[in-house]
């Protein structure tokens, strides 16, 4: 079996002042992902290597990490494509490291909650679904595919420089609800959209949409709303 070197950025919150690199040599087959490589390390070489994972099929969003400097899902990044290596793995950029490859994600969870990510709607008739045509669904569907993997936050330099920025995934989710024909909560979410750290924190670097594993295109969700925000700003003089 071929072997490949995986270099991991290690950090322990109690014993380490700063992160350090540690190298492992991993035997691999052509179908093995980086995640499986890390699992081999944990099972057989060093049980203390710590990382999040769950579904192994790129739908749960747990296994995001930097692989050779790019934000990736480790379960769908394959060692055969990185051979001969070495493969450098570190925790997702722009987030504080809790331990090894595990980041502190509470900031994102707060942002997620702040965008009111639920249907704000009139009561439906009891026992009846809202009507929604496939065309109406197309207006928001791609934004609903977000698996909250945080690769876009690791890609976004604005978030890295200013963690008050609401950020790509949260704003995409906000837009997902605004664009849903069943929703009536646009006005309620406007304040967040208009904020300095809302859509205006984005300078359209666009890397978020590049790295998104689910083709959500958060850059589009945010920048469409710059027009909405501008309209809202000018039209408010007429609302009174």
């Amino acid at each position: 079996m071929r072997k490949i070197e995986i270099q991991c950025l290690r950090y322990h919150p109690v014993t380490d002042a700063a992160p350090r690199w540690q190298t492992y040599e991993v035997p691999f087959t052509d179908d093995m992902s980086v995640l499986q490589g890390l699992q081999h390390v944990k099972d057989h070489l060093d049980g203390s290597l710590t990382f999040r994972w769950s579904c192994r099929m790129a739908i749960c969003g747990s296994c995001g990490m930097m692989v050779n400097g790019e934000p990736k899902l480790s379960c769908e990044t394959f060692l055969r494509d990185l051979y001969p290596g070495p493969v450098r793995v570190e925790a997702l950029n722009h987030f504080p490291i809790v331990r090894d490859l595990v980041i502190e994600q509470s900031d994102f969870l707060e942002k997620l909650e702040s965008v009111k990510p639920y249907l704000i709607a009139e009561e439906a008739s009891p026992g009846k679904t809202f009507l929604q045509t496939p065309r109406q669904m197309e207006d928001y569907y791609q934004y609903s595919k977000c698996i909250n993997c945080l690769l876009c936050y690791a890609a976004c330099p604005q978030y890295g420089l200013n963690d008050k920025f609401t950020g790509p995934a949260a704003l995409a989710l906000l837009h997902r609800y605004n664009a849903d024909s069943r929703d009536a909560g646009k006005a309620e979410r406007m304040e967040l959209v208009n904020a300095e750290d809302g859509v205006w924190g984005c300078t359209l670097v666009g890397y978020c949409s590049e790295v998104c594993p689910k083709e959500v295109d958060p850059a589009r969700a945010i920048n469409q709303n710059k027009i909405n925000s501008t309209k809202d700003y000018f039209l408010r003089f007429f609302k009174k």
């Binding site: 950090y11 919150p13 109690v14 380490d16 700063a18 992160p19 400097g69 790019e70 950029n93 504080p96 490291i97 809790v98 502190e104 065309r135 197309e138 207006d139 330099p157 890295g160 420089l161 300078t203 359209l204 670097v205 666009g206 890397y207 949409s209 590049e210 295109d217 850059a219 589009r220 920048n223 469409q224 710059k226 027009i227």
Partner: protein, 127 residues
């Protein structure tokens, strides 16, 4: 718990994507300077024929030519990135039920820009 926050440092050097982005942003400096030079030219024109001729001569200097060559490249790059990103600023464009793909929007924009450029160059050459 004591987490570790990695410094941003020279983040733009760590990924080619960021370098290209910074180049896009930096191109605005050149575009601004170019616009200022044109404004100066306009002002000189208002002052009379001689000042205007002197401004035109200044444009022919090697430094000016170098600047303008660089600025042209960067404007072209900036325009290209502008069109590439244009679909992201628009809601979905539809013709009837068919959603116009982003690629089509980019291509349309670029073609329109090229057409305008050709038109202006022809006008400039024939008048």
């Amino acid at each position: 718990m004591k987490t570790y926050t990695r410094p941003m440092g020279a983040w733009w050097t760590r990924n080619p994507y960021y370098l290209w982005y910074m180049l896009r942003e930096a191109s605005c400096v050149f575009i601004t300077v170019y616009a200022l030079i044109l404004l100066v030219g306009l002002f000189r024109l208002s002052q009379g024929k001689a000042p205007y001729e002197r401004w035109l001569e200044g444009l022919a200097s090697p430094l000016s030519l170098l600047f303008h060559a660089l600025a042209l490249v960067l404007v072209l790059y900036h325009s290209w990135t502008w069109f590439k990103v244009m679909p992201k600023t628009l809601p979905f464009v539809r013709i009837g039920a068919w959603r116009v793909p982003d690629r089509a929007i980019v291509v349309t924009g670029v073609c329109a820009a090229v057409a305008c450029t050709v038109l202006i160059v022809l006008l400039a050459a024939t008048t």
